[in-house]
């Protein structure tokens, strides 16, 4: 059985950061994302639990910083009622940006007709798109009457955990259908940077981290046939075209799969035939689907009980 992997975020200078990558490869860890900005580099990585001190030592030698990134490998949908200036860029973008700090990949989704009380609704396409993610974060406004009585109809058909942000101080159980409610992040026309606003964002990150942990725990009972990170690495090795993709995070990890930002029609057969060292192909371990997002490919990995074995 594969070792338990811990998600970490490394921030440091570009100088000699290759040493860290090599070390990680030797230890059997994975680089999820590497972002170079000027002379700085950010590495999001999965490290085998028992080897964390070894990597920490190397990171200290490079004078870098290593922090735990509990939302690594989680793709979150941040859903705003519409894309109008009433909700964007504040506070929906602030929420999305803040969730990225602990390692999550976030996608902003603006519903076409999500605004209003009686008139708000979502389409089948939108619901399917949201369901491709691991967690859905709905950013609502400042009226408790709307959040409690009117907006929850947008949750219909959403099968993933639902997090709601809004202005008023409500309890999670007051909002029907929500798995978590975080207050103090309502509709604003300024950046969220006051103490109470930033604390609310911190609380959001912490609680969303707990939801992700819960999903992981549930998953551990019947593990995935292959780690999404391992599938990611094989795709990088066997489908070199992924290096030419300009989208941010060309391979986006999810808790139970990954999104491949390559056109479906052209590449799905090659991904289905992707072979692992053990001699099995990806199509035996996972469902390879056409994503609702653009023309991308969505890979949802089957569980061990379904496949009969895990690698």
């Amino acid at each position: 059985m594969a070792a338990v992997l811990r998600p970490y975020l490394y921030t440091g200078g570009v100088h000699k950061h290759g040493l860290l990558i090599e070390l990680l490869e030797d230890l059997g860890g994975y680089i999820i994302q590497k972002v170079v900005t000027g002379t700085e580099v950010n590495l999001i990585m999965l490290i085998p639990e028992k080897d964390v001190p070894v990597v920490k030592k190397q990171s200290d030698e490079l004078l870098g910083m290593m922090v735990e990134a509990p939302l690594t490998g989680v793709e979150i949908a941040v859903i705003s009622p519409t894309l109008a200036s009433h909700h964007l860029p504040h506070s929906a973008c602030d929420v999305a940006e803040y969730l990225r700090h602990p390692g999550a990949n976030t996608n902003m989704i603006g519903l076409a007709r999500g605004m209003g009380r009686r008139v708000s609704l979502s389409t089948d396409y939108e619901r399917k798109l949201i369901n491709e993610h691991d967690i859905a974060v709905f950013t609502f406004g400042s009226f408790s009457d709307c959040i409690v009585n009117k907006k929850p109809k947008l949750f219909e058909g959403i099968e993933i955990p639902i997090v709601v942000t809004g202005g008023p101080d409500l309890k999670t159980e007051d909002v029907p259908g929500a798995d978590l409610y975080v207050g103090d992040i309502g509709r604003t026309s300024h950046r969220l940077r006051k103490i109470e606003e930033v604390s609310a964002l911190d609380k959001l990150n912490e609680e969303v981290g707990k939801i992700a942990d819960n999903i992981r725990k549930q998953q551990a009972k019947d593990p995935l046939a292959v780690l999404p990170a391992r599938a990611m690495k094989e795709i990088e090795n066997q489908v070199p075209e992924i290096q030419t993709v300009l989208s941010p995070a060309p391979l986006t990890l999810q808790l139970n799969g990954l999104r491949v930002k390559l056109p479906y029609d052209e590449f799905h057969e090659r991904l289905e035939k992707l072979e692992f060292d053990e001699g099995v192909t990806l199509s035996e371990l996972a469902n390879i689907l056409k994503s609702k997002m653009k023309n991308y490919i969505l890979i949802k990995i089957k569980s061990k009980s379904e496949v009969g074995f895990a690698i």
């Binding site: 605004m115 209003g116 408790s144 202005g167 008023p168 509709r187 026309s189």
Partner: protein
Amino acid sequence: MMNPLEIFAVESAIASEQEFYRKIIEDNLASLKLAPAIGRIKVMLRPEDSLFQMAILLRDVGTRVTTADIADVEAKPVAGEIIISIKKEQYIPELLGKLWERYGKANISQPDRWTVAISTDKAEEEAAFLKDMMVADPRHRLHENLVDFAIRVTPEGFRVRYHLYKGNRFIFVASEEVFKREWVEEAEAMLEELMKGGRT
């Protein structure tokens, strides 16, 4: 004469929601630079009825601006040109727009930041006309900004709207339901109240 924002009232059944909206209104007033133009403002929030009502009393925002207010106009009949020496830069875009329309871009040059030169055969007459030409009407700009402001602060779903702009009075009512006559009447009453209640 009213002071800027001498009355700034936001009312709602729930106190905390009132504060959220007060903040939204403040932010939007700031980003549209409207605060100096508004004397008294009252906003009524009734989310349970899907209703947003706003009444505003504007301050005196100044009169129309003519060329003579912002520049010296000098006719040079011998050279066949008019020289405009700018004193207030903020109205240059409007001024140029009007000049281009009247004389054509080819006949206008800007030798430097503070000077506009127009070549014309009738320098004397044209200079006299230009001095009294209206360059900008701040009230027009204010109207655009007020409507923008109203739409920005209203909850997005409230797309059935009514607005009135007369003299220094502005009323805005928005909802997502079929309009009721009394909603507008209530907003008018809010305005009446604002007109009575000044500084004490």
